[in-house]
Symmetry: none
Subunit: 428 residues, 2 copies
C-alpha cells in the first residue's frame, strides 16, 4: 500500500521577501491529495540558479514526484531552466512547435514576439514538454530514474491550466495510488480546540488509515477527517466510526458535517423555514451583516441591518429606551435585548440578532473590560441574551468572535437546541 | 557587507494537504527584510517528528537564523517540541512561570487548565523561552553555535505577537545587517495594475539598489518600494526620485504614502476635520461599515450604518421615495443619491456614503448586469453619484470593489479633489 510521495518547489524572490504569499503549494497539494498523492515537503527558493539546483537535488532523493513552479518567465531573473539544465548536465534544444506557439500567442494579441519571448522555445535536452494554453512558457517533464520531475510556470492560472490539462492526467495514469481516499469536514463553534481534543483525541488508534486535523479560527474549530485504504466500503465504515466520536464530543457545538460557514448554514435553515432575519450591531460594526450577505441569494431572507454605534442611533433606530442605556450602560444585557427586539419589530422579520460589546483596544473599564460582549436573539415570543468575555485578543478578533457567538445563538434557536449550551469563555 | 541569512520552516499537515495557505512565511519574510535580513529558503513540513527534525537539521547548515512556526499546540499532532528535543538530545523541563501563565490564561476565561494545557510549560532543556501574550504556547530560542533557532506557534496572531514583542528586538540587537534598507509604501485606488505599470515601469534603470513591487488587490494596487545601500542619505534621495515617478503616474489615485487602508485614511481625514460619517448599504451588505469600524476609535466619527437590502428598508429607514424606486429601480442613480441623503439626514452626520448595486451571481438583467453599482456621497450642499461596471468577478469581489469605489468617492470629497477623476471601469 505504498503512497506516491510528492514534493513541491516554488521559485521566486517575491516569495521570500514578503511580497507574495505562495498559494501554488496549497493548490497543488489539494489537487494531489485528490489523486491519493501525499506531499511531504514544500520548499520555496529565490530566483537563484544555485539555490534552485540545490533544492531540486535535495528533494529528488526519496520522492516519487517533484513539481517545480516558477522561474520560467522570459526575463533575466527567471533561472529555473538553466538550473535544471545544469543539474542534469544537458544543453538547451530549440523546440520548433513551442516557438511557433509563442509566435501565435503574440500575433493573436496584435504584437510581435521578441527574441526573449522566442527563447521560451529552448527546452533542456531530454525533457518532455507541453504547451502552455495561457502563456508562453511550456510545462516540462524530466524522467529521472523512477522520479517524475515537472517544471511549471509560477503564474497561478498558467500553472493550474498545465496541471489540470497535462500533469494530473499523466499522474493519474502513471502514479495514481491504488489507495482510495475519502475526506469529510465538520464545522464547530463555541468549543475550543483543546476541549475538542480532550474529548476526541488524535484518533491515533485508527491511524494511519484515518487521520483527523484540527483547524482553529476565531469563528470556531473546523475538523478535517481523512480515510485511506484499498476498499472504499471499509474506509466509509471507519470514517463513520470516527464521525460518531466527533459528534459525541462536539455535541451541539457541531453545526455542520460539511465545510460550511455558519452564515451559509443559517441561510439554509431560514430558507427551509421560510423565515427572515434582521441584525442590529454595535461592536461588530456591520460584520454580521457583511458575513450574512456574502451568501449568494441573501436578499431572500436577510432584510435589514443597523450599525448603531452611538447611543442616539440605538435609541432612534431601534427604540432602545434612553433610560435603559443610562441605567445599565450601552454594553449591557438589557440593551442587547432591546436592540434585538427593536430590530425585529422595525424590520418586521421573524428573527433578529443584536450585539453590543467592547471590541477595544480602548473603551474598556475595570467593570466592563475589553472583550465583554452581550449577544441577543429575538424570535417569536422569546428573546435570549448571553454574556461573553472574549479577552484582549485584539479588535478584529473580538469583532469576529462576537459575530460567531451571535450567529451561534441564532443557529441554536433556529435548530431548537438549548441556546445556553456551548460557547467559549462564558460567564453566564 | 554580509547580510544575515534566515530560513523559515512552517510546520503543519494542513500546509501540505491544501487545507491552509501558508501566510506566515510571507509575513515573517517581510518583517525580516525590514531588519535587513534576507530569507534564502522556506520549507513546509507536516506534523511529523522525523520530518521536522530533518528540516531543521538541513536548514541549520549555512543559516544565521532559523525561524520555525507551528506544531506547538497542546494536541497530540503537534510535534515540534519533541523534534527539537530529539535533535539536540535534551529532555523537557517544566517552566513554572509558563505553567502559571497557562493557569492564568484559563482562569481569566473562567475555566481550568487541563493537564494537556499545563504541558505547554514543558520546554526543551537549554532553550530560552518567552511568554505568548495571546495563547499558551511560549516562543522558544535555542542558540546553536552562532545560529539562532526560534520556534514560534503557528497561529498567525500568536506568531506575530511573539515576533514583534520578542524576536524582532532580539534580532535587531544581535543580527542587524550592515546594509541599510529603506522601505516605502504607496496605496492607490481606482487605477489598474497595468495602467500603473505602463506609466512607472519596473524601475529597472535604478536596480538593484531600488526595487518596486506591484501588489494588486480588489481594493486597489499597493506599491512597495525598497532601497538598499550603505549610505542612508543616498538611499533616501534615490527613493525620493522613484517616489516622484510614482506620484506623477498615480496622480489623484494615490491616497497614501504609507501602508494604510483607505478606511484608516478616511478616519484621519474625518478626525482632522472634526466631522462625522454614516453609511447606507445595499449590495455591500455591511462591508463598508465593517471596514470603517475595523479602525480603532471609529466610534468618534462613524455614527450609524444601515443595511437596506429590501425596498421597504430603503424607504422606511432612509426615506427613499417608493416612486423613485418604482420609476428607476432599486439599483439606480436616483436611489443611490436618495440613500446617501437620507442617511446623512437621519444620522445627523456631516457625510454619508451609499451603495446600491448587483453583486451577483444572480439578480442581473441585460439592462442591469451583475457588477453594476452606483455609489453616492452626500456632504453639505452637494451629493455626488458615480456609476461603475465592475464585471462578473464574483459576489465577494464585487462587494469589495463597490466598497472601494464608495470610500474613494468620499475620500476625494474630503480632500477636495475632483470626485469624478480616477476609478476603474467607469462609464460615467
Amino acid at each position: 500500500m505504498s503512497v506516491a510521495c510528492c514534493r513541491i518547489i516554488t521559485v521566486g524572490d517575491e516569495l521570500l521577501n514578503g511580497i507574495r504569499v505562495d498559494t501554488n503549494t496549497a493548490w497543488l497539494a489539494e489537487q494531489l491529495s485528490g489523486l491519493g498523492i501525499g506531499v511531504d515537503r514544500a520548499v520555496s527558493v529565490g530566483d537563484d540558479e544555485t539555490a534552485i539546483r540545490a533544492a531540486v537535488e535535495d528533494t529528488l532523493d526519496g520522492a516519487d514526484i517533484v513539481i517545480l513552479s516558477g522561474g520560467l518567465g522570459p526575463t533575466q531573473d527567471d533561472r529555473t531552466k538553466q538550473a535544471l539544465a545544469g543539474l542534469f548536465r544537458v544543453g538547451m534544444k530549440r523546440q520548433p512547435e513551442v516557438e511557433e506557439a509563442v509566435r501565435l500567442f503574440f500575433s493573436a494579441r496584435g504584437r510581435e514576439a521578441t527574441q526573449v519571448n522566442l527563447d521560451q522555445a529552448l527546452v533542456p535536452e531530454g525533457f518532455e514538454w507541453h504547451a502552455n494554453p495561457l502563456g508562453t512558457a511550456p510545462g516540462m517533464l524530466k524522467r529521472h530514474g523512477d522520479v517524475l520531475l515537472f517544471s511549471l510556470p509560477g503564474v497561478p492560472d498558467e500553472m493550474k491550466a498545465l496541471y489540470e490539462g497535462w500533469v494530473a492526467p499523466l499522474l493519474a495514469e502513471e502514479r495514481g495510488g491504488q489507495l482510495v481516499y475519502e475526506r469529510r469536514w465538520y464545522r464547530t463553534t463555541g468549543i475550543g480546540e483543546s476541549d475538542l481534543f480532550d474529548r476526541i483525541g488524535g484518533l491515533e488508534d485508527m491511524a494511519p488509515e484515518v487521520s483527523l486535523a484540527y483547524l482553529p479560527a476565531p469563528e470556531g474549530v473546523a475538523l478535517y477527517l481523512r480515510g485511506r485504504g484499498s476498499d472504499p466500503e471499509e474506509i466509509g465504515s471507519r470514517l463513520d466510526e470516527a464521525e460518531a466520536r466527533i459528534r459525541d464530543a462536539a455535541g451541539s457545538c457541531l453545526y455542520a458535517c460539511e465545510n460550511l460557514e455558519i452564515a451559509e448554514h443559517i441561510a439554509r435553515l431560514l430558507l427551509e423555514r421560510g423565515e427572515t432575519l434582521a441584525a442590529a450591531e454595535s461592536c461588530t460594526g456591520g460584520q454580521i451583516a457583511h458575513s450574512l450577505t456574502n451568501v449568494p441569494g441573501a436578499s431572500r431572507w436577510f432584510m435589514r441591518g443597523w450599525v448603531t454605534y452611538s447611543n442616539e442611533a440605538k435609541e432612534e433606530e431601534l427604540g432602545v429606551p434612553v433610560s435603559v442605556i443610562m441605567e445599565h450602560g450601552a454594553v449591557s444585557e438589557p440593551v442587547a435585548c432591546a436592540m434585538a427586539e427593536g430590530a425585529r419589530k422595525n424590520a418586521g422579520t421573524d428573527w433578529a440578532v443584536a450585539v453590543t460589546g467592547i471590541a477595544g483596544p480602548t473603551g474598556g473599564t475595570e467593570e466592563k473590560p475589553v472583550g465583554l460582549t452581550f449577544v441577543a436573539c429575538a424570535g417569536q415570543g422569546e428573546t435570549v441574551v448571553r454574556q461573553y468575555h472574549l479577552g484582549e485578543g485584539g479588535r478584529m478578533r473580538n469583532k469576529t468572535r462576537s459575530m460567531a457567538v451571535a450567529l451561534d445563538l441564532l443557529r441554536r434557536m433556529l435548530e431548537d437546541i438549548d441556546p445556553h449550551e456551548g460557547g467559549w469563555e462564558v460567564h453566564r
